[in-house]
């Protein structure tokens, strides 16, 4: 199957702090990959590098075969890489409709804003301002804005964080629909339960390295992952 994303030996340091130490992986079309790991393991930095907000020190990023390692964020977005943020950032003073419309002004192609809003369940709220939305609605709005880019790859940063079970189920449904449309999704997530039945595989980052690459179920049993999350003393206690 066609490779949408290839990350090759990406390294990043902030001062003396090495955040990513040679991260490599690839994603196929229509694949949902969970990017997991304890706090500070480099997940958000990796998303920032992929979306172009942070430049890697070395390594290469290829999107649909094109080297995008040095492209600015807006060019990556126009190529079809959408992203959401850990803390949703709607344009507070713009209406929901305007928040999505504005994306369409900067990309080529015919995007139907109203369809996107219906897809994420925000059509009824299209005339409300970004500041008038709840957390769950803001997250949907971020998703809608990313979808207006007609993306091939979505980078989702903790989209389930802070949501109630009903909202989680609804967004899971939307993401499954996107997968069927052939959109690849790389999602950073702490709510592991929400990934069950959704992701095709997971990557676990710890101290800037990928320590696990495989199924979600297998991850639970992996000793390295358990050590990363629970620590040496807990493993010793487990025997």
């Amino acid at each position: 199957m066609e490779k949408v994303l290839e990350v090759i030996d990406v390294k990043k340091s902030f001062g003396g702090n090495r955040v990513l130490e040679g991260v490599s992986f690839s994603m196929k079309k229509g694949e949902i990959v969970g990017l997991l790991g304890p706090n500070g393991s480099g997940k958000t930095t990796l998303l920032n590098i992929l979306s172009g907000l942070v430049r890697q020190d070395s390594g290469e990023i290829r999107f649909k075969g094109i080297d995008i390692s040095r492209l600015p964020p807006y060019k990556r977005a126009r190529l079809g890489i959408g992203r959401t943020f850990q803390i949703p950032k709607p344009f507070w003073n713009l209406k929901v409709l305007e928040n999505v419309e504005i994306v369409c002004h900067h990309i080529q192609g015919n995007v139907k804003v109203e369809e996107i809003l219906k897809k994420v369940g925000l059509y009824e709220l299209r005339h409300r301002k970004g500041s008038e939305l709840s957390l769950a609605q803001r997250k949907r709005l971020e998703l809608a804005r990313s979808l207006a880019l007609s993306p091939s790859l979505l980078l989702l940063d903790e989209i389930f964080a802070g949501l109630n079970p009903a909202s989680i189920r609804e967004i899971q449904g939307v993401l499954k629909g996107l997968k069927e449309e052939g959109i690849s999704i790389l999602m950073v997530e702490h709510v592991i339960k929400a990934l069950v039945g959704l992701v095709d595989r997971v990557l676990v980052l710890h101290e800037g390295k990928i320590i696990y690459h495989g199924s979600l179920e297998g991850m639970m049993e992996d000793k390295e992952v358990r050590r990363a999350y629970l620590g040496e003393r807990y493993l010793a206690f487990e025997g």
Binding site: S51, G52, L53, P72, P73, Y74, A77, R78, G82, R83, F85, K89, F91, W92, N93, L94, E98, E101, I102, V103, H105, H106, I107, R145, S146, A148, L149
Partner: protein, 294 residues
């Protein structure tokens, strides 16, 4: 009718000169130039969220460029004005790669530094007349020419503000103001739009500087780079925050009226009273006053 409302004062101003004596003509020109400064600065301040506290640098630069072209090279008045504006834009293009990297108060300080640098240069260069400045002969009807030049400039700036308030371009620029990182991640070339707004602001400030020079018939550095101009402008813009189309026009008029009243009655203490008036107004209306209230 609602859409035309900001142009009602413009129509009145268009017909007024036939009824006015030179004093009122000069006073209204002064008011319109202040409104032009406010609208120009608002392109960056309101739409993009960048406070160019030293934006007067481009006003002064354009004024000197106009004065030199009109006085020393005898170029026609309209051509000198446009070239004065373009020279300010060119200056903006040259400094934008450095200044537009900065944000909020760092950006404000950088523009102030530019203003002070240009002021020092103007006071020490031969071409700008050094501390003596440049005095030049103006035609008999210079008051009327200045009046209508200010009015044309004000109308263009008002139209531009209305366009930005209601267009896709304005929406894009406002998105950058709201959150630049998000704007980048949805495909907006933020550097391009920021630089564009900066250069356009400089263009209009430069032209306004040219009109001011002609109106004043004399330019020197302390007059052109006077920090009081920035204080007046940003006071007006703060009060206009919730009404970017009508606000600068209304508040420039009120401010100029207060200033003139204080100046003519309290020659020595007018600065003190003006300061108190500014503090009182800002404290009373910290978020500006919306035109909708009227």
């Amino acid at each position: 009718m609602k859409r035309l409302s900001p142009f009602i004062p413009i129509f009145i101003l268009l017909l007024l000169p036939f009824e006015l004596n030179p004093y009122w003509l000069r006073l209204l020109t002064s008011f319109m130039l202040l409104a032009c400064l406010s609208y120009s600065h608002n392109l960056l301040f309101y739409f993009l969220g960048y406070p160019a506290f030293g934006g007067i640098a481009f006003f002064g630069f354009g004024a000197y460029a106009f004065s030199i072209l009109y006085n020393s090279y005898n170029l026609p008045f309209p051509l000198s004005l446009i070239l004065g504006g373009l020279s300010s834009s060119l200056l903006a293009i040259l400094v934008a790669p450095i200044i537009m990297r900065l944000k909020s108060h760092y950006f404000a300080i950088a523009t102030l530094a530019l203003q002070l640098c240009l002021m020092e240069l103007a006071q020490n260069l031969e071409i700008t007349g050094g501390t003596m400045g440049i005095a030049f002969n103006v035609p008999k009807d210079s008051n009327l020419i200045s009046y209508y030049s200010s009015l044309i400039l004000l109308s263009v700036l008002l139209l531009l503000t209305l366009f930005l308030e209601r267009s896709r371009l304005g929406l894009t620029i406002k998105a950058i103001r709201e959150d630049e990182i998000t704007a980048m991640s949805i495909g907006i070339n933020t550097t391009l739009y920021r630089s564009l707004a900066f250069v356009i602001m400089a263009l209009f400030l430069g032209i306004a500087g040219g009109v001011f020079s002609f109106w004043n018939a004399y330019v020197d550095a302390p007059t052109l780079f006077n920090p009081m101009l920035s204080v007046k402008t940003f006071f007006i813009l703060t009060l206009s925050l919730s009404s970017p189309v009508h606000g600068p026009l209304l508040w420039s008029f009120i401010f100029e009226a207060i200033f003139e009243m204080l100046w003519s009655r309290f020659l020595v203490l007018h600065g003190l009273f003006l300061g108190l008036a500014i503090v009182l107004l800002i404290l009373t209306f910290p978020k500006g006053i919306s035109w909708k209230r009227f």
